[in-house]
């Protein structure tokens, strides 16, 4: 028998079985380090600033003053809320990219009730009605694409995406009606403050924080320990297996999307009552899409989502602070945070795949 030369490509990529916790942390750590280095190069060569002072300023963006920290937490909580909404849908492999629209519909109902019934209901009743209608509106917005998928196997990515545009149009229409002769809709109920969240324990945004904290635990619990959560996992894994087990796939899809939409609607309620006290087409602020990254990176574990949301909010605030402090163009700051995000997402690749380089081998 002669030597057999095995022809192997120079670099090949093999799916990893399972990366240990140590490997995962190493990969993520390496990503962040790489990002910082790349950013430092960019900052130094393109803008001519000292990278370390820029990083310092970035840090200031979130931790500079107590007020700024409270804003960071407020924004984190909004983003996290949408991530929590997406978790059950994504676990079921139902790609809900319509969170933006679901948040808007929830916010819209809240705003409408706030304005038109604000002076007719006492505060507790007002909040209750706003909460219920916004949750219901979000649930409906999530249910419609789910129904079509369950019944006619429509593509949920397209459907939920389109519903975003419909929601945006509804909001634009309502805003136009509500602003009357003014050129823009300012804060709602400026005189009576009806429907505005009161400050609790001395902090303005605490209600938002408390509600989302509860949701974080609730969703984690729901997905891990309940029968519904089990069904979601099975349906997400394989529809065939779900049918084999006797699970009513259509019912699970619709129920889960109703919940997903409902939580998004709740998020809209929190934003309108707790943060903006108005409604506009930018109320969701892109959170519906950013939350997809959050949910995905966290592998749908709500506690990890909190961590990742914080990272993203930190980056956002840092970018704005850099732009402001150095009179840098918005875009330079976006590039800085973009590089960090890119490296983190890239590390995901290395966690899931191994890269093998060719070695000379001889076989008999």
């Amino acid at each position: 028998m002669s030597d057999i030369q095995i022809k192997e490509p120079l670099i090949r990529v093999v799916k990893r079985d399972q990366a240990s916790m140590r490997q995962k942390i190493a990969a993520r750590g390496a990503a962040i380090l790489l990002a910082l280095v790349l950013d430092a190069l960019f900052i130094f060569f393109v803008t001519g600033l000292n990278p370390f002072s820029v990083y310092g300023v970035m840090f200031q963006g979130t931790f500079g003053t107590k007020v700024r920290f409270s804003w960071a937490v407020r924004d984190l909580v909004s983003l996290l809320c949408v991530g929590i909404a997406l978790a059950p849908a994504f676990k079921m492999k139902f790609w809900n990219v319509g969170a933006e629209g679901q948040v808007l519909m929830g916010g819209l109902m809240t705003a409408l009730i706030m304005v038109y019934w604000g002076d007719r209901l006492p505060a507790p009743a007002l909040f209750a009605v706003m909460l219920l209608t916004s949750v219901a509106a979000g649930a409906v917005w999530g249910l419609v694409p789910a129904f079509f998928k369950a019944r006619w196997k429509t593509n949920e990515t397209l459907f939920t995406l389109m519903m975003n545009y419909v929601a945006t149009s509804f909001v634009a229409c309502a805003v136009n009606i509500m602003r009357g002769q003014a050129s823009s809709l300012g804060k709602l109920n400026m005189g009576s403050h009806a429907g505005w969240f009161p400050t609790v324990f001395g902090q303005r945004y605490n209600i938002n924080i408390i509600v989302v904290l509860i949701l974080t635990f609730a969703m984690y619990f729901y997905l891990k320990y309940t029968k519904h959560g089990y069904e979601i996992s099975v349906v997400g894994e394989s529809e065939n297996t779900a049918r084999y087990a006797g699970i009513n796939v259509a019912k699970v899809i619709m129920r889960t999307m109703a919940i997903s939409g409902a939580v998004s609607g709740l998020c809209g309620f929190l934003i309108v009552c707790g943060r903006d006290q108005t409604i506009s087409t930018t109320t969701a602020g892109g959170n519906g899409f950013t939350a997809i990254i959050v949910a995905w990176l966290a592998k749908f574990n709500t506690f990890y989502m909190a961590l990742i949301s914080f990272l993203l909010v930190f980056l956002q605030k840092g970018a704005a602070e850099i732009a402001s402090a150095y009179s840098l163009n918005d875009y330079a700051a976006s590039i800085i945070t973009g590089i960090i995000l890119f490296c983190i997402l890239g590390s995901e690749f290395f966690i899931n795949y191994r890269v093998i380089f060719r070695r000379e081998r001889r076989a008999k």
């Binding site: 079985d17 399972q18 320990y225 309940t226 029968k227 519904h228 959560g229 089990y230 069904e231 996992s233 099975v234 894994e237 394989s238 065939n240 297996t241 049918r243 084999y244 087990a245 006797g246 699970i247 009513n248």
Partner: protein, 327 residues
């Protein structure tokens, strides 16, 4: 081709084929080369020992059915695909407890659809009926299976287990561990919202021990287990439900020889307990060794039902290609 001077390599685990036509045999085990022998000097037991690593008895026992009781009465089952193609036409047969009914046929002749129809996963054309007898002797009226989905079947007290052909794609949830998979059919028992993980975990541990499932733990995702272990988990779970009817589709396809024989053994034990076992297989030799009766499907129809002990391989083959029909 051999006469022409060409080199021919056959890869198989069917020992009688190897002994019949090869000149030399090389044996591989677990990715390593074990050795080569001249066929003239080898016999089944030597080859098996090299394949498995120890002396193994390669016969499948076939105990006589004791008190066979009719458990399933399948009448006029017809299945038409979405495109309108007829997959099964007018299938009728009975299944008895305490026997193994084999279903033979070239793959794709409706075997999968037949088992799924019985399990409640495949809709059946009007006029078909599948009756299940819970009480032996017919003291209770039989229950109709057609028109019910698996959950309803379970809740109606019909004890049927099904080991599907697609193990990870239908029978198991790959990303869950053994514990999670044990729960697949029992998760909604008990009142309240919460799932009970204790009982499934205990079951998983006992199956792991009894069947020798090689896995780091009961919560390691089953998708990471080897084929044989995956099947052990699946079959283990289905048997743990104490079924009265047990259906298996291609239960030993792709499995190593050790596990295959473990599975045959399991099926025989169920048969001795009085379970009605349906075994869909593609290896005629196994069918003829294992089954009491063999039903042959061809072109979506029952070609014939033969006695497993008396039938000849050629006869079965003939039925499989639609040669003879017994009305």
């Amino acid at each position: 081709m051999k006469a022409d001077g060409k080199s021919v390599v056959i890869i198989t685990h069917k020992l009688h084929e190897v002994l019949a036509i090869s000149d030399r045999v090389s044996i591989l085990r677990k990715g390593e080369y074990v050795g080569s022998v001249k066929t003239a000097e080898a016999d089944e037991s030597l080859l098996t020992e090299m394949m498995v690593g120890k002396k193994v008895a390669l016969n499948i026992e076939r105990p006589e059915p004791v008190n066979p009781v009719k458990r399933l009465e399948v009448r006029n089952i017809s299945v038409v695909s979405e495109e309108g193609v007829s997959i099964l036409s007018d299938i009728s047969f009975d299944v008895y407890g305490g026997e193994i009914l084999g279903i033979a046929g070239v793959s794709g002749n409706g075997q999968k659809e037949l088992l799924e129809a019985i399990a409640g996963l495949q809709p059946v054309a009007a006029g078909g009926s599948i009756k299940y007898y819970n009480e032996p002797g017919g003291s209770e009226p039989p229950m109709e299976v057609v028109g019910k989905n698996p959950r309803i079947i379970r809740n109606a007290g019909i004890h049927m287990s099904f080991v599907p052909e697609d193990r990870l794609g239908m029978g198991l949830v790959g990303s869950m561990g053994m514990t999670g998979n044990m729960m697949l059919k029992s998760y909604d028992r008990g009142r309240g919202f919460l799932t009970d993980r204790k009982k499934p975990q205990d079951l998983a541990e006992s199956i792991m021990k009894e069947l020798g499932v090689v896995t780091p733990g009961v919560n390691t995702p089953v998708s990471r287990l080897s084929g044989g272990n995956v099947q052990k988990v699946l079959v283990g779970r289905e048997i743990s439900e104490s079924p009265i009817v047990l259906m298996t589709a291609y239960a030993v396809r792709g499995l190593d020889i050790n596990t295959s024989y473990t599975i045959y053994d399991l099926l025989n034990r169920q048969k001795k307990k009085g379970v009605a076992v349906i075994y869909v297989g593609e290896d005629l030799d196994v069918l003829l060794e294992l089954c009491d009766r063999i039903l042959v499907l061809c072109g979506g129809r029952v070609s014939g039902i033969l006695d497993g002990r008396k039938a000849a391989k050629e006869e079965v083959g003939l039925f499989m290609s639609g040669g003879r029909r017994i009305e």
